[in-house]
Subunit: 118 residues, 2 copies
Amino acid sequence: MTLPHPNSDQISLPIVLGVLGDPTRLAIVRYLASKEGVPLNCSQFLDLGSKTNLSYHLAKLREAGVTRAEVVGTNRMITLRRADLDARFPGLLDSVIAAAVDDPALPAVGGHDIEVPA
Amino acid sequence: MTLPHPNSDQISLPIVLGVLGDPTRLAIVRYLASKEGVPLNCSQFLDLGSKTNLSYHLAKLREAGVTRAEVVGTNRMITLRRADLDARFPGLLDSVIAAAVDDPALPAVGGHDIEVPA
DNA sequence: CCAATTGTTCAATAACTTTTGAACTAAGGA
DNA sequence: TCCTTAGTTCAAAAGTTATTGAACAATTGG
């Protein structure tokens, strides 16, 4: 009952970039980064799409090696694979997240995802 | 006879990431980075695909704001929009290029694109 | 002017991606 | 055990992207 993940050295740059090149998935990653340390289940992201569609996007992120999903009861706890990504592509995740935080065009989770400065 | 480019503030993070999420385009960017300062015309990249196909990929890069194409006679001189990208997404281009340089799975331009250490 | 060079555009096709709803599995609580 | 909750899987439809070849445009050099 564990889900398939690539190991660190199987994570591919073009695949990661391609997977992040989608507003829904970028919004997921941005939200995960804003809650780093806190494992989140899939339902947290329902603002971004239907249950089925999220299952699809979360699988893409997981299969690319961007996130890890741990099965806990009926939940999947989702975390960013920050250490693996930092080791493989130094600085990439940080710069993507920093840019994503500033992007008002990305969909938001919870309706209060972005702090717009006055 | 000038080609359309987005201006700096129109460059979109998901579009840039999506455009970079393709091995051919990542190889183009890596090669441009390795020749920074030297403007290159499209024919330099023919190792990566047919003339038509390169026209397509180079247009994608240009329309995303990753490259600039200047018309010089019958040539288009292609450069990376490094300053614009650095201003908009600090650190992103550097980390992508650094990771791309280390990626042996990317196609190479000229057959000597990558230095594989002994 | 003519021919060569450089690159684009167009239409067709193939291949992939996204989205949906219905059906399903698996765990947990009453 | 039965019901609910959480999430997956499947197949279909819709949409998008990549690749190709033939035809085109623009410039340069002979």
